[in-house]
């Protein structure tokens, strides 16, 4: 990224190839919408390019990227006033759509149910679990993104997992 910042913008392509799946996975985990997630990936890289001079080069690029991604995601939802919560019925509708079916059909029943439970989590809890996943449980780095301590991140992950477990168990009973 330091090379990109210093003018070699073409090298952003390398970073895009390296991180596009993780970034897309983060957005897709947040909204379950393929097209929207791709747009948000594009917006994130647009901001990275626009604000490249602000990359200080002290920390990890991925941490900086997720910091921007989080802002992109927040801005999008603030602008469109979309609802965070989805009902199980919405979810079943989504699973029926052509674009989602292909991926979801390959998943096991457990995975589908877990994804449904994730969709029902409050936004902040869903976000912390996705950051934990795509930042490979590097809690210190997640703390830098969220502006809190490593210990506080662990507690947030703990609480989010606890709630996810409760929702998952409820879904298990209803299915």
């Amino acid at each position: 990224m330091t090379a990109v910042r210093d003018g070699d913008v073409e090298r952003l392509g390398l970073l895009f190839e390296r991180y596009k799946r993780q970034l897309y996975g983060f957005f897709y985990g947040m909204n379950r919408n393929q097209e929207l997630s791709e747009d948000l990936v594009q917006n994130t890289f647009f901001r990275i390019l626009k604000y490249r001079h602000l990359f200080r080069g002290e920390g990890d690029f991925r941490t900086w990227m997720f910091h921007i991604a989080r802002n992109v995601s927040h801005d999008h939802y603030r602008k469109d006033k979309l609802k965070w919560k989805e009902s199980v019925e919405d979810w079943q509708d989504k699973l029926g759509h052509e674009e989602n079916r292909e991926g979801e059909m390959q998943s096991t029943e457990t995975n589908v149910m877990l994804a449904m439970a994730m969709a029902r989590l409050p936004h902040d809890k869903k976000e912390i679990l996705l950051l934990s996943k795509y930042q490979e449980k590097k809690y210190k780095e997640i703390g830098e993104i969220l502006g809190c301590s490593e210990g506080a991140v662990k507690v947030k992950v703990f609480r989010a997992l606890q709630e996810l477990k409760v929702i998952y168990q409820q879904l298990e009973k209803t299915m």
């Binding site: 392509g13 897709y28 991926g103 679990l129 703990f158």
Partner: protein
């Protein structure tokens, strides 16, 4: 809290027997780093399952949009670094006349060979393809096997690859330390196996492989494209005492198809 008390609390949590005040205590211990999240078995299992869920693949349109944006930025950068100074008339006049003539010829030729394709779109498509190629070639050079796999994957998204790319794919197929990367590059070369040069290189590659997986994959490919010239190379592998029996059998099956 003493270590044995902490362990008791964790055990109690894992049994699902903690009350809300004990959960708060646990949170405190997690924050202080005295309890690791992986110790909480049911949550850890859930977390691992969550990590295992894969999101759908991204579309090629996303890549194209990104590369188009990058090209636009490169152009902007190039134009902003251009310093303009007023040239002399003697220097400018012949060049201006030549440019005008070129424009007139261009218009004339355009009128004569008018096609419906938008030249701007064509140019952008070409630039995106060139940029993707350049990124793929850079990724081939990376130390990380994941990056090299990404390079191979990027080449599979290209409509047509250049000689440079096929050379990089062969370089990878013949020399990459990672078997998965070698296998991926072989797969990426399959669409080009109609080309005589690619076929010849594939045959040469047979003798360079020491991985049974790649040897078998090459044997299957040669069987699929009915490349009889590969038999001599496979015979050498069959005569080699170090070749595993399973590999020999698979190669023999492919040879049967070829002769």
């Amino acid at each position: 809290m003493e270590q044995n008390k902490i362990e008791e609390l964790v055990a109690k949590y894992n049994e699902g027997l903690t009350d809300p005040s004990e959960v708060l205590q646990l949170e405190q211990l997690i924050e202080e780093g005295k309890v690791d999240l992986t110790q909480l078995r049911s949550l850890d299992r859930l977390d691992e399952q969550l990590i295992a869920i894969e999101s759908p693949a991204t579309s090629l349109a996303m890549d194209d949009k990104f590369y188009a944006m990058l090209i636009k930025e490169k152009k902007k950068q190039a134009s902003s670094s251009f310093k303009f100074s007023l040239p002399s008339w003697n220097w400018l006049a012949p060049r201006l006349a030549f440019s005008v003539a070129l424009v007139v010829i261009g218009f004339g030729a355009g009128y004569m060979f008018n096609t419906k394709a938008d030249p701007n779109v064509e140019l952008l498509t070409k630039q995106v393809a060139d940029l993707k190629e350049s990124i793929a070639l850079s990724l081939f050079e990376k130390e990380s096997a994941t990056d090299r796999l990404k390079a191979v994957s990027l080449t599979t998204e290209m409509d047509q690859v250049s000689k440079k790319v096929t050379e990089a794919l062969f370089q990878t197929l013949n020399n990459d330390p990672n078997v998965n990367v070698r296998l991926a590059s072989l797969e990426a070369l399959i669409p080009y196996s109609k080309d005589g040069n690619v076929r010849a290189e594939l045959i040469r590659s047979i003798g360079k492989q020491d991985s049974p997986l790649v040897q078998v994959a090459l044997a299957e490919l040669m069987g699929m494209i009915l490349e009889k010239k590969s038999v001599t190379e496979f015979d050498k592998i069959l005569k080699n005492d170090k070749t595993p029996l399973e590999v020999k059998n698979r190669i023999k099956e492919s040879i049967k198809v070829l002769i």
